[in-house]
Symmetry: C2
Subunit: 265 residues, 2 copies
């Protein structure tokens, strides 16, 4: 590879024990393994859109040639990216950029199952989508300046015709310029699939704070439960490449007949 700060200029002759002539760089105090650097380079290509969600990326041998490292090193980099859900390996076919359109990817971000353990389909009802200025709290969480433009989406998810989830979603206005009710209503499939396809912003990971709360009247109304009814409150912050926060989401879940599934492993 081109930029190589670490101590890898040696071992070009595996059969001879002679060290390379000029070590040049001493054991760097900030040591970073080669495969981590490769991982960074691949991530850059993903972020820049060189390879788009769903597309195939170059084969391991090709990448090894491009970065001037062994296939094993590229392999380890891809291994980690696959473990991070950025790439998907398919034996015999190739390695692909992960997308929120896959079956399994859906579950990762909405872990609601029916009491019998089955995964039910749901439909989304858009309540509103409007642009406004960020409150201090939202600005802090999205790493924006207060009163920067944001988009607010409110929607209702119905499982088997029953209103089960109420979501309030805040997005940075700059990134999601051009997001309107019409485009939201027209789009089929998961919200995150639209975000990655239409706005080049892919959600990588998220953290959630979960609480039990009593339904306030306005929320209760929309979810068709009495005021004071126990609801699951889910506060999510989602991050994209570089661990930059790009979504704040507050959800209220009715958990009668459904539960939030979590695996500790």
């Amino acid at each position: 590879m081109s930029a190589n700060p670490a101590s890898n200029a040696n071992s070009t002759a595996p059969e001879s024990g002679v060290p390379a002539s000029a070590p040049a760089v001493p054991p760097s105090p900030t040591f970073s393994p080669l495969y981590q650097q490769i991982k960074g380079l691949i991530t850059q290509s993903l972020e820049s859109g060189e390879w788009k969600p769903g597309e195939i990326i170059p084969s391991e041998v090709e990448l090894a040639a491009r970065y001037k490292v062994s296939q094993g090193t590229v392999r380890k980099a891809i291994d980690e990216l696959a473990a991070d859900n950025l790439l998907v390996r398919r034996q015999g076919k190739g390695t692909f950029v992960a997308t929120h359109n896959e079956e399994r990817a859906q579950f990762r971000f909405l872990r609601l199952l029916a009491d019998d353990g089955a995964e039910h389909p749901h439909v989304s009802k858009l309540l509103e989508c409007r642009r406004l200025r960020a409150s201090a709290e939202i600005a802090r969480q999205l790493d924006l300046k207060p009163s920067d433009p944001v988009v607010l989406i409110r929607r209702l998810l119905q499982f088997d015709g029953e209103s089960t989830v109420l979501d309030e979603i805040w997005l940075p206005g700059g990134v999601f310029r051009g997001l309107t009710s019409e485009r939201l209503a027209d789009y089929k499939g998961p919200l995150y699939a639209m975000f990655e396809a239409e706005f080049g912003t892919r959600m990588i990971r998220a953290t959630e704070k979960i609480r039990a709360v009593a339904a306030e009247p306005t929320v209760a109304d929309l979810l068709k439960v009495p005021a004071g009814f126990p609801l699951l409150s889910v506060e999510r912050v989602s991050y994209t490449y570089g661990d930059r926060p790009v979504e704040v989401r507050r959800g209220w879940y009715v958990t009668t007949g459904y539960y939030y599934q979590n695996d500790l492993s």
Copy 2:
């Protein structure tokens, strides 16, 4: 290694392209990579208690010699076991059997944080510990026969002096023979640490079903909240080696001032 069903009897002479004399076994229809088999053997040693929680296991070179495979193959097996939280690698020192006494292991199974994001210490108040016969439902979840003996533990967790979590824990009576209130009261540290040290049963993973519920009078009383108060209901099933269920737990969490932290990654 000794028992090798797969097609690995070749490539003993890497520099010559000649295949080994007797392929013996055709490409097995149920192909299992060598490192997976090694992983199984190491898991057996863990389960049998050959290496106990907290102890060091043999070095990679020793294990490679024992199983008659290359260090790289042992390495890949250990990599996965470390990813599964069964082993812990420490560079320069060795590889150790994971234990529930470590700081980071605690969090995995009780993800309750204060509103400011800090992790607060808690104390456990034992309410009761008695032996009884399994209900049909508990028996099913623990893979026992109805009316098999089980142990029921009820306890209260207090954060900063406030009653925050009420737990009901069912354990198979056979495995936890000799578990009494006295031993529970005497033991310092996490429950799971005691289980692995005193009963040789280590919790590997768990699944949780989370709901919001209204506090019933008896529960509300113990948690010092009004009846009907919204509580987080957490139903957990924990598994040990071989994915055998060994604990059913029902918890009620007061989530005012605290939240359940979950990471989607």
